[in-house]
Structures are given as C-alpha cells and as structure tokens.
Symmetry: C2
Subunit: 216 residues, 2 copies
DNA sequence: CGCGATCTACGACTTTTGGACGAGGGAACC
DNA sequence: GGTTCCCTCGTCCAAAAGTCGTAGATCGCG
C-alpha cells in the first residue's frame, strides 16, 4: 500500500488549531511546535474563523473543539469536508456524550480525543491521522459502542424534547409545533419509552446526560 | 512530568497546577515556565491530589479548575485555606455562573479567570495575586454584580431542588427527605417563586443555568 | 421579649400529566 | 400489494402536580 505523503516540502505538517479558549490554544500550540515535524499555521476561536483560516492555509490537519460560539463544531466539520473531502479533522473536546461523538464521526472527523489526553498521546494521534489512520479515545470508543443501542429520535420527537427541556408545558409545545396537545402526548410517550423514563423531568435529565439536548 | 529540577527555588515563585485535563496542564505549565520569575512545582488532576501536592510543595499560588472529579473545586479552596490561610488560589475555569463565582470567592479564592484568557493576561493575573492583589475576569465581575439579586435558597429548598433535578417525583422527594408530600409542595412553591417559574421542568432549566444544580 | 424567617404540616381544589385503550393518512421499502 | 414507520387526533381516567389558605414549633436577632 502506498505510504501517504503527508509531509510537505517544508518538511513540517501544518496544523490548524480551533478552540474558543485562548489559553488552551497557546498551550497546545507550544506543545505541537516543539515537534520537529509539526507546526501550527493558524489558530481560530470559533467556527467561522476556522473556515476562513482553512481557506487561507489549507492545513494538513485541523484540531477542533466541538462546543464553540458562533458555529457548532459538527457543522464546522461538515463544511470543512465540503471544501475539501481530504480535510483531516481531529475532535479535541471535553465532552464525550455518545450523541456528539457519533455526529462528529458521521460528519467526517478522523479522530475524537478528550482534553484529558497527555501531550505525547495527542502528538501520536496527530501523526496517526496524518498517516491516514483514525483514532478514538478509549472513553469515546466505549460510548460509541453504545451506538447500536442508541436511541433514534424522530424529528418530531426531537422537537418536542427540545421544547420540553426548555420547560414548556404540553399546551405550549402543541402551539409552537402547530399540533394538538394529544399529539404532543404521543410524542412524549414514545420519548419516555426510548429514554427509559416515566416523567418529563426525568426525561430532561437523561436527554441532557446523553447529549440529546443542552440546557441554558 | 515533574519539572522541579534545575532552578534555584528562591528566585522563582512556585505554582501548583490543578486541572483534570492533562493537556491543559501541560500547556499552561509550558507557558508559566517560560517566565523567569515563575515555575510550576507540581500538577494535580483532582482535588485530593491537589491537597497532597499542596502539603508537599507549599506553592506560592495554586491554579485551580472548579469542576473536577473526586472533589469539587470550591471544597478544595476551602481545605487549602484551612491548611494555610495565606494560600493564594486562582480559579481557572470554563464556567461563569454567578453561583460558582460567588461560592469560590467566599471560600477564599483570590482571583477568578476564564480559560478564554490570553497567556499574557494569565501571567499578569498570577503576578497580581502574588503581589497580594485580587483579579476578576470581566465576565465574572459582571455575574457577581448580580449577586445582590441572587436567590437565596434555604437548605430544605436546595435539597428539594436537587432531588427535583434528578427527576424525582414529589412522593419520592417526600420519602427521601422524610417529610410529607404536602411539605414538598410548599418548598416547591417557594422554589418556583424564587426562580420565577411555574413548573418543575422550568425550574430545573433555570436552576441549571444559574449553577444551583448540575445535571448528570 | 416580640419579630421575622424557616420548616413543618393539613385540607381542598384545579390543572397538568401520563397511560390506555383506539384509529386514520401518508411515505418508504420490499 | 403489503409492511413498517411516522405523524396525527380523540376520549376517558387516574395520578401527579400546582395553587389556595392556615398554623404550630423553632431559632436568631434587634
């Protein structure tokens, strides 16, 4: 099999660093730039900046946090892959809900690592991805294993769930969705069954834990 | 990676770094160690390790994340100040709910900064604290200003709220607290009034947003 | 020692919620 | 054509949730 030619003529693979925490960007940039074969070409603090930077620098690999202002990480992954299907994206984040991991990988991310990773392991992960491999943090892999049993919500159920998590009553949900209160109850019933709960408050808790919705 | 060798202890202020993300620790340690007058004497990944490290190294300043496994940050602050009332603690975290800021400062933290701070600003903050000053991130200061209007929950109300956020029904809450269901309703009523809501699900949302409880 | 706040508790009432039956139309897939 | 899934709606009912008013005990504070 032909070895992937990742290293450019400049001899250092370029990295784009995207995270809304300046402190972490600086810290990780230091770590990466200490490696002879890697260097950070640009940093971005949100998704829009990330897309701009990608256009400008065409990095060999992009390190991306999922939770950011302005544009969500998964959406950024999708757009990056649209711009260039060969774009290699490593998700570097704090959270490991099965939902987010699954969505990020489906969007085309090559790796998913948590911020509790060691510097050495991160470097190894970057090199793996540059070599065409993929990498999953053990915790992420475990979560993903649950993917088979993962609840699959229908669009209506998800819409209902979101409004529910926002504290809305059935009547309000019915109004906002333009359906009868009875139908809301149907969706809620299915929702409860899929989440394994019996009350709305419990549903919010479980859904939040699984990353199906976010409060606040 | 302990890096406490080489330098003379007298000329550099010692820093203890506490965060559950190894990557961030390494990154921040790099940043700090580049300064001539600062050096990281130890790192810790949770509260218990932090207390151990403090005993061993008596750092001049402790950088502390609030949300950690094993022991919560606020509790760590309290214990550090018990060990040594002169302990200087800087909260370095992602979240800025009024509750957490207020509790951390009351526990004796000298500064509260968010992880979106720049490396330079962080260094400046550390030097300020070493000089006996305090420092509040603008966002944190703004949140704290709301402190006056902040809701003050009674112990029973808080206990009720926690069980509520866990998805418990009134009957279950009554059992767990050893009171009648009717009294639970009384507490809930007060809770709703203080939070400005009319239903339990909404209460969970608002309480979560304000940092009064945490889901998951 | 009053005063206020807190925690506890009760009855009665209305609204909301959740479950249990059911049931039809539409889109997709084999 | 049949099957399956999704969305929709209806009623009846029991349980839970939420809203009234009232009140005794305790504790800290001025």
């Amino acid at each position: 099999m032909p070895s992937a030619e990742v290293v450019t003529s400049a001899s250092r693979a370029s990295v784009l660093l995207v995270d809304d925490h300046a402190l972490l960007r600086t810290g990780v940039a230091n770590i990466i730039n200490q490696e002879a074969d890697l260097h950070v070409v640009a940093e971005a603090g949100n998704g829009v900046e990330a897309l701009d930077a990608f256009d400008r620098y065409h990095p060999d690999v992009t390190l991306l946090d999922l939770r950011m202002p302005v544009m969500e990480g998964v959406e950024v992954v999708r757009r990056l892959r649209e711009k260039d299907p060969r774009a290699r994206v490593i998700i570097l984040t704090t959270y490991d809900t099965d939902e987010e991991i699954s969505r990020a990988l489906k969007a085309g991310a090559k790796a998913y690592v948590l911020k509790d990773i060691s510097a050495d392991a991160l470097i190894a992960c970057i090199r793996d991805v540059l070599a065409g491999k993929t990498y999953l943090a053990p915790a992420a892999a475990a979560k993903l294993a649950e993917d088979v049993t993962r609840v699959q919500l229908t669009p209506r159920e998800l819409a209902t769930l979101r409004l529910l998590a926002d504290g809305k009553a059935n009547k309000e949900i019915a109004n906002e969705l333009g359906i009868s209160e009875r139908t809301v109850k149907t969706h809620l019933g299915h929702l409860f069954e899929k989440l394994g709960v019996t009350s709305r408050t419990e549903a919010v808790k479980v859904a939040t834990r699984r990353g199906l919705v976010r409060l606040g």
